[in-house]
Each structure stands twice: as structure tokens, then as C-alpha cells.
Amino acid sequence: MSMIIVKPGLLTTVQDLGRYGSQHFGVIVGGAMDAFALRIANLLVGNDENAAGLEITMLGPEIYFAEAALVSVCGGDLSPRLNDRELPLWKTIVAPEGSVLRFGPARLGCRAYLAIAGGIDAPAKMNSRSTYLRAGIGGWEGRALQKGDRLPVGAPREAGKKLASLLADEAQADGVAFSRWSVAPDLLPAYTPNPEVRTVAGQELALFEEESAERFFAGAFKVRTDSDRMGYRLSGEGDALRLREKRELVSSAVTFGTVQVPPDGQPIVLMADRQTTGGYPKIAQVASADLPLLAQTNLGGTVRFRPVSLQEAQRLYLVRENGIRTLRSGLERMQASGNGRVQADGKR
């Protein structure tokens, strides 16, 4: 079983949820920028949440399925089409033998995630299949996909096979099937081109001039065009953000969503391919629950940071995780009952 890359798109990479466990060697986590979308896509095809899928950026690829496949596309809306049909996001889909997946204009967000039952069977490097572009390791030959790449797909799990059989009834004349089940709308992040992300104080917030700290949480910041999977470089409308006194910090660990401010006073939000440690003062930390909003913000988009308490950030995290658990158990119940005409969130 394999899928063939007919056109690679702008930046299509193999990603799982990241390369955890080697950060103390300085090896970055990487993985999907919008980890939520990849997790859901994997659940919808019966995979482990951490299975490798494709991260598709802005201009999508053209992919040929030599054999029938159970797939799901989640995250940003890059106008996916299967053969000549518009492909709905956040659903389970049967792509029959010989079908072609294409993408069009980015309607919302900038990263779509394709999961396929069985996962992309790229060799694991340091316990992950994520592509680490800068080091040229992991994923598919350590690089973005190219025309002619033939990606091997693993054997579907029992859950994937059951989901496929539930979809048999839904097949159209050409063999394409879209699930009736989908994801509860209130579980989905409120993707928007110019998001406001909920943010807690950073470890060095107190080192900033009060005026700078207030401006950071009140202002709008543009995502500069030299931003990438490692970090979003932001530029604010007003002056540079300033420390109370100039000082060199001792480097310490950072994480996804850490907002650091280098001496030029323009903040950088660290993203999936962030370094493991940093020496710039950390003004803020984006709540985990809102990282998908940031991951789907395109170059040139505007981000605002809304301060929330740590308690609230933790609550948002648990609400999101509870929602994912509900979806997972809904899918499991559906597989057990053999009835695919219920919502995956368990509601009829």
C-alpha cells in the first residue's frame, strides 16, 4: 500500500506529534504545527493519535491513491477535492483505488493534515517519524516531499478496518464515501485569519518595562514573512518592547508557544521546530489550547495576545482533552455497535 506524490505542493512534510525524549540532547521536538488537527485526523481513520500523516502548507499537493484508502483531512481549509468532488474536513473518507486528492486556494488557515489508515510508514528516527528539515532527518528522507515520492502506508488497525466497513453503505457510484459522523463543532478551535490567543505570563515578564508589558497584551502583531515552523517573528505597531534594564540572560528551556523578545524588541513566538532552550527573555506563554490558532495563522496575519490566568489555561487544556476523549470513545462505541449513522461525539 502506498500513495504517490504527483505534485508536491509548497511545503508538504511527513509529521507525527513530535520527537519527544531527546530534548536533553538538544534535539528539537518538531512534529505537526497544529497537533490537534493531526490527532483528530488520525482518530477519524482509526489510527493511534501519534501516527505519521502529512502536513500540507498553503499550496497543497496532488496525491494519487494506487489502492483504496481510508483517509481524513483536518485543520486548515485548503479547498481539498477528491477526484471531482469537494472533500469535507473533519470526516472519515474512503478514497477508492485510482483516486486523486488535490487542493485549491487556502480558504481558512494555512495547514491541512492528511491522515491515512495505517499511517505513513516512514522509518522512525529517535522515536519519531517527524521531518526535521533543518537537520535533514526523519520524515521522508529528512526533506519536504517531491514529485514522484511513493510513500509506504502501514497496515490499518482493527479500528480503521471497522470504520471502513461502516462506510461501505455510504459509497457513491465512483466509490467515494464521506462519513456522516464528524467532530462536534464545539471541539474545534475557532480558527480565524487574525486570532486572539489566550496567553499566560512568561517567566521573565517582570523584567520588562510596565509600559512594554501592557503594550504586548494590548497590541496587534503582524506575522512577518520570514516566519517558519521554528518560530513566528512578529512586528508590533509601536516601539520595540523594552526591558527595565539591559541584561544578558542565562539560557534555559523553552516550549511550544513561548514568546521571547530579542534585543531588537520584536517578539518571536516559538513553534513546532523551536530550539530546546533560549536565552532571550520570555515575556509570555501561549496557552496550549490556543496553539492550533497560532499554527493556522498565515504569514501577514495579525495576532493578539489576551492575558489569562494559569488556572484558566489549565482549564482550557482539560476541556480540550476531555473533548478529544469523548470523540475517541464515541468512535469506539460506533465501531462496537456497527452503526455509523450516529455523530462521533455520541449524539444522534
Binding site: S22, S252, A253, T255
Partner: protein
Amino acid sequence: MVKLEGLAGNYEKYGEVEAKLLPLGDSAVTVQLGETICRRTHDRVRQLAEHLERHRFPGMIEYVPAFLSVTVYFDPLEALTGLGGHVDTDGQADPLGVVADWLGEQLAKLENAAQTTPRVTEIPVCYGGELGPDLPEVAATHGLTEQEVIDIHTSADYLVYMLGFAPGFAYLGGLPQRIATPRRQTPRLSIPAGTVGIAGDQTGVYPIATPGGWQLIGKTPEPLFLPDAMPPTLLRAGGYRPVPAHLPG
């Protein structure tokens, strides 16, 4: 106005260990073990790292030791469930607090770990020219000649305090103050693998091409990141490493 929220804003005593626990967002806690880079704090950091290598809590993902701290990453839901915290979405659940309590208990148990014998790694460096474009600026900053900067940089023994920033990137302690130089105002977008730099009183080698803000003084042909080996890095925390230099040609 937003305020810096710490789980504990000040150092507290955990048995023999003084530490400050700071949240790094909602899924990580930084255990700060001192304020200045020194051998004593480094030893504490290594003790805690070695302890976490043997003792883990449910939901613990990994830890990252740094100069003064060890940061522990975790899955909040698994940590809450596994450590017996209040699991609910009513705003009362506090995974960070539960993890901080666990870390506090571990800090109180820290024993003095056996010191491993320092391993010495020699790294050949070509200084200046295109390979070290900031060497003239570093020299000018201190009123030294380029050769004097090279001599000073190669005369010292360096301690690998931590790996971080990039795979196999070692933060080395022991840079002579006479050539300590602040980071650049704006980071460069790409620095070639093997480049040797200075930032404040730190020095180090970039193992892969990456953006960075260090002052670049030279380059080594030696690979520092070995993705197919275990451990995947040439340098490892805890040893002294002298850096002898060889000029090009």
C-alpha cells in the same frame, strides 16, 4: 495589569536543596536551582537530571537541564490522573500544582550523585575570515588583535554545562572574561553547521545550520550531531573540553 504568576515566587528549602519552581506555560515546570552559573549549581542540575532519569511521574514526558534549572514537561491530564489530583474542568484542577508537589518531594530526596570522570574532546577550529565573520568585531570590542582573541579562546578549558538550542549544541562555561561579547542585536537567519560563536560569557559550536544571535569567530569540520548514534551528540554534559585551534592552511 498582568502579573507574573509563580507557583512559588521565591526560593524555598526542599530538604537540603534550595529551589524555585516556575511554570513554563500549562504543561511544564522549571525548577530553578541557582542564579549564577557555577560548578555548585551545575552539580545540583546534574543531580536532579540523574534523579529524573530514574524516577518519573505518570504523564512525565521529558526533562531539559540548563545552566541553572531543569525543566520538566508533562501531559497535564495524565499527571492529574496519575498523581491523584482533582480531575475536572470547573477551573479547580491544578496539574501544575500537583506536579510541583511531586517535584518538591523529589528535591528533598536528592542525594549527592557520584561525579563522573570528565571526558575530554578536542575540537579543531579555523578562526576568522569568512568562517568567523565577527572575529574583527569581537577583537575591536576588547581592543585586542584577532590573534589575541584566538589565543585567549584556545587557552581555556571549557565545561559542557548543557546541551540545547540545537541538537548537540553544547553551552560551554569557562570563556575568559577578556573576550566575553554580547549577542548580536538581531539574530542571523542562517548560520552554517560547525560555526564557533560567543554570546556574553558563553562560547559554543553550531552543530547544524540554524538561525542564531551569537558572535561568530570560527568554524570546525568536526560533526557534533550524530542522528544515528546513541547518544546522538559528540559532546555530553558534565566534562571539561579544551578547544585547541588550527588556523587554515
